[in-house]
């Protein structure tokens, strides 16, 4: 057991941080937030490609760099700290992850190589308007048609679907609406006939979309993994994404804490820095503890995110999401409160962290969802 970054991880974390410091200041990011045509910076995306970031988590035989989920964590912490708006989670972790874990060699070579090169983007479209946080709750239908399939249905809040070239879509050809059996995953061209995409920003500025599929034809070659047995893959992909989100939240919380601590030291009221008031001191201590505890479990989640035993992986991921969710809410609210008025202005950067953390909260399951998943595992164990 050890808790240090490897030499490579340190190097790579430093260079990513330098890239973001140099090119992605608050001002630069604000410009991206004001864009209407694209919800992220394509220039930064290409810089990620050049840095090798887009291939980080893929084995060398898929054109990647053979990194682990811990390497993913190293990157995500920086994305969180700098509020990177780019669709890394959507394209690399989720879309790429689905193909890495479940795709055929042909699919990997067809899609992962250009994705890693920055020439193509992926996204997953799993959840639906009625699913809440259960990715197995799927109404979208896949009907066999010749050697291929025809898909129809609606997908909700698909991360990165605003800009993806290909969508990985879950659909059902057997079982009831909330059955884990009967699901398949398909690669769908975002421009295919019958696909309509309603793109929008989330409250943290990141892009997503509602996706409607009307009799969309897909080839047999675009079935990912086994037909009607995609749940283990979907569950794994979502766990992986959740672990990545937890790591990103650690970076964001760390920065929110830094901003608050700085404010406590500089803001004067009643003739002294407000950080001299014991109630605020202790709350700042609580924020620090919350972040440390969340970080410990984000570590664990990333350690276990690549494990194939779902009970082990689910448990670590749910524990992390509970701790991160609890910490994120406490830190967001305490940070705003201690900043006072300035904390609720759009101009000051804290609000962007608060919104990012709110989006993390309602992505892939909130605290209650993961408490229940974890609790059921504990009760069964």
């Amino acid at each position: 057991m050890d808790f240090d970054y490897s030499e490579e991880q340190t190097l790579f974390s430093d260079s990513l941080r330098k890239l973001l410091e140099d090119t992605y200041s608050d001002t630069e990011r604000r410009k991206v937030l004001d864009q209407d045509d694209s919800f992220h910076s394509e220039a930064l995306w290409q810089a990620y490609a050049e840095l090798g970031l887009l291939g980080l988590t893929f084995p060398e035989e898929m054109g990647g760099f053979g990194g682990s989920a811990i390497d993913m964590m190293v990157a995500e912490i920086e994305f969180g700290r700098f509020l990177s708006l780019e669709p890394y989670l959507a394209s690399v972790i989720l879309g790429g992850g689905a193909l890495r874990l479940g795709g055929s060699a042909e699919q990997q070579s067809r899609l992962l190589e250009p994705m890693i090169a920055g020439e193509l983007k992926l996204a997953c479209a799993l959840g639906e308007p009625q699913s809440r946080y259960d990715a197995f709750d799927v109404e979208t239908k896949a009907e066999k048609s010749g050697s291929g399939y025809v898909l129809s249905g609606r997908k909700a809040v698909a991360l990165g679907a605003d800009c993806a070239d290909r969508l990985i879509v879950s659909a059902r050809s057997a079982g009831g609406v909330a059955d884990k059996q009967g699901l398949s995953l398909f690669i769908v061209d975002a421009k295919a006939a019958g696909v309509s995409i309603n793109p929008y920003r989330l409250s943290d500025g990141r892009g997503a979309a509602e996706v409607t599929l009307e009799n969309v034809a897909v080839d047999a070659a675009d079935l990912v993994g086994e037909a009607e047995n995609a749940w283990p893959l979907i569950d794994h992909v979502v766990d992986l994404g959740t672990a990545a989100l937890c790591a990103e939240a650690i970076g964001a919380m760390e920065k929110a804490n830094d901003l608050t601590l700085e404010y406590l030291k500089t803001r004067q009221q009643f003739g002294r820095p407000i950080g001299k008031f014991q109630v605020l001191q202790h709350r700042m201590v609580d924020m620090t503890i919350e972040k440390e505890q969340a970080e410990s479990l984000a570590l664990l989640a990333c350690m276990d995110a690549d494990k194939t035993d779902p009970a082990v992986r689910n448990r670590a991921v749910s524990a992390a999401k509970v701790e991160v969710g609890t910490a994120a809410r406490f830190i967001s609210e305490a940070a705003v409160q201690m900043h006072g008025g300035i904390g609720v202005t759009d101009e000051y950067v804290l609000g962007e962290y608060v919104k990012r953390l709110a989006v993390v909260q309602a992505t892939f399951g909130d605290v209650d969802h993961h408490l229940q998943r974890f609790g059921a595992l504990t009760a069964a164990a």
């Binding site: 959840g127 308007p129 009625q130 699913s131 809440r132 946080y133 259960d134 909700a156 809040v157 909330a178 309603n198 929008y200 920003r201 989330l202 409250s203 500025g205 997503a208 509602e210 004067q268 009221q269 009643f270 003739g271 407000i274 008031f277 109630v279 605020l280 809410r329 609210e333 705003v336 409160q337 006072g340 008025g341 904390g343 609720v344 202005t345 759009d346 101009e347 609000g351 608060v354 919104k355 709110a358 989006v359 909260q361 309602a362 992505t363 909130d366 209650d368 408490l371 229940q372």
Partner: protein
């Protein structure tokens, strides 16, 4: 001791309901129910209707337009208005500056301002906070210097809600810089159309423009706009803030929001059942409802005491603290209730008459903005930390 409403109180409730059924415009109700943002005219319309009914300033002394209602009646009125979907009345005129003018103003000021405050013809804003003076309000720096029959005012106010709508602003200004901070402050009324007044918007994290910075650059204010005595402004401010605290519990509004939340929780589904039947969500909902039930009774206990005493006591800080905590929890639980549809930021959907393609259920787009909006409830009107300091000193003697 009796917690049941008397037949007279029940009859009063029916009277209020009948009025609301007859007069509250459906268009306003539609906006408040879906969380669409209200404009200046929405507030003015509703205030005018209450003014015409004679119910706009219940707590004022009857000779100035008060209704003479008991604390319980005021509570019933408040509850019924929000239950029917009425907007709130902006507090700056009727709730804040009005009572100051009534208690400390001269006859001419009363004649000049009070009726327009009640009718809503003239809108007010509050020029208290400054960039360097938040919780430590008494450190304010905006300076007013008497030059003949005019005050010349220089400085900057901030977090000024509705300054961009307001015709007048009541301010705290420093009129004597050489004495103890609290003893050199006066209470001055400033016409927002005066040369040298500049309002700049502050956009808040919910995306809305309701608060502002107000710059005062050699603004000339007639000497007679001073309320009460010179350098006694701090006393009037304390009086005003105590009134603000009491009004801020917002029981009626929170009860209405709780009903909305419950509707959402019936509509949303989790594990194939209505969210309201999910054990964890249900228990959070239950605890929040219980806290609100408790605060409603605590509020009435304190309002009755306050009416007996003729003024709010320091215990009213409890209402501010718990009232805003509940408001924040309501906004939080409502956001959590809509699940992943809390995330899309469809700001246009918050404007009246939007007809874009909906993203998620109709009630979803307002949830996260409202959560963010409510963050400030525990900051304004004296932050909850300041309220606890007040309670600690004035009630507990620590």
């Amino acid at each position: 001791m009796n917690l049941n409403f008397t037949p007279e109180e029940e009859a009063f409730r029916q009277e209020v309901r009948a009025f609301l059924a007859a007069k509250l415009p459906a268009e306003l109700v539609q906006k408040t129910k879906t969380g669409v943002r209200l404009g200046k005219e929405d507030y003015k319309t509703w205030q005018r209707l209450l003014y015409e009914q004679g119910w706009v300033s219940p707590k004022w002394p009857t000779q100035y337009g008060g209704t003479g209602w008991t604390a319980i009646q005021i509570h019933i009125f408040d509850e019924e208005c929000f239950a029917a979907g009425a907007p709130r009345i902006l507090p700056f005129g009727i709730g804040l500056v009005g009572p100051v003018i009534i208690n400390f103003g001269n006859d001419e000021q009363k004649a000049t301002y009070l009726d327009d405050i009640r009718s809503g013809e003239v809108l007010w804003c509050q020029g208290f906070s400054e960039p360097g003076s938040g919780s430590d309000l008494a450190s304010l720096k905006t300076r007013a210097v008497l030059d003949g029959d005019k005050w010349v005012v220089n400085g900057q106010k901030t977090w000024t809600t509705a300054a961009h709508w307001a015709d007048w602003m009541f301010t705290l200004v420093r009129t004597d810089p050489d004495v103890k901070q609290q003893e050199g402050i006066s209470f001055l009324l400033i016409d927002m159309k005066s040369p040298g007044v500049e309002v700049r918007p502050i956009i808040t994290i919910d995306g809305e423009h309701m608060v502002n910075e107000v710059f005062l650059d050699n603004v000339e204010v007639p000497a007679e706009n001073l309320v009460g005595e010179l350098n006694k402004g701090w006393d009037y401010a304390k009086f005003l803030l105590a009134n603000e605290r009491t009004g801020i519990a917002g029981i009626g509004q929170s009860k209405a929001e709780f009903r909305t939340l419950k509707e959402i929780a019936r509509h949303e589904r989790k594990n194939g059942k209505p969210l309201i039947e999910d054990p964890l969500f249900q228990s959070r909902l239950a605890k929040l409802e219980i806290d609100l039930m408790a605060l409603e009774i605590t509020n009435m206990r304190m309002l009755v005491e306050e009416q007996k005493a003729g003024k709010p006591g320091p215990m009213s800080s409890i209402l501010k603290i718990r009232g805003t905590e509940i408001q924040q929890q309501l906004s939080e639980l409502s956001m959590d209730a809509v699940g992943v549809y809390a995330n899309p930021w469809i700001e246009a959907a918050l404007e009246a008459n939007w007809n874009g393609e909906p993203v998620g259920p109709e009630y979803a787009p307002a949830r996260t903005p409202y959560y963010l909006f409510r963050r400030k409830a525990s900051i304004y009107g004296g932050s909850n930390e300041i309220q606890k300091n007040v309670l600690s000193k004035a009630v507990l003697g620590l």
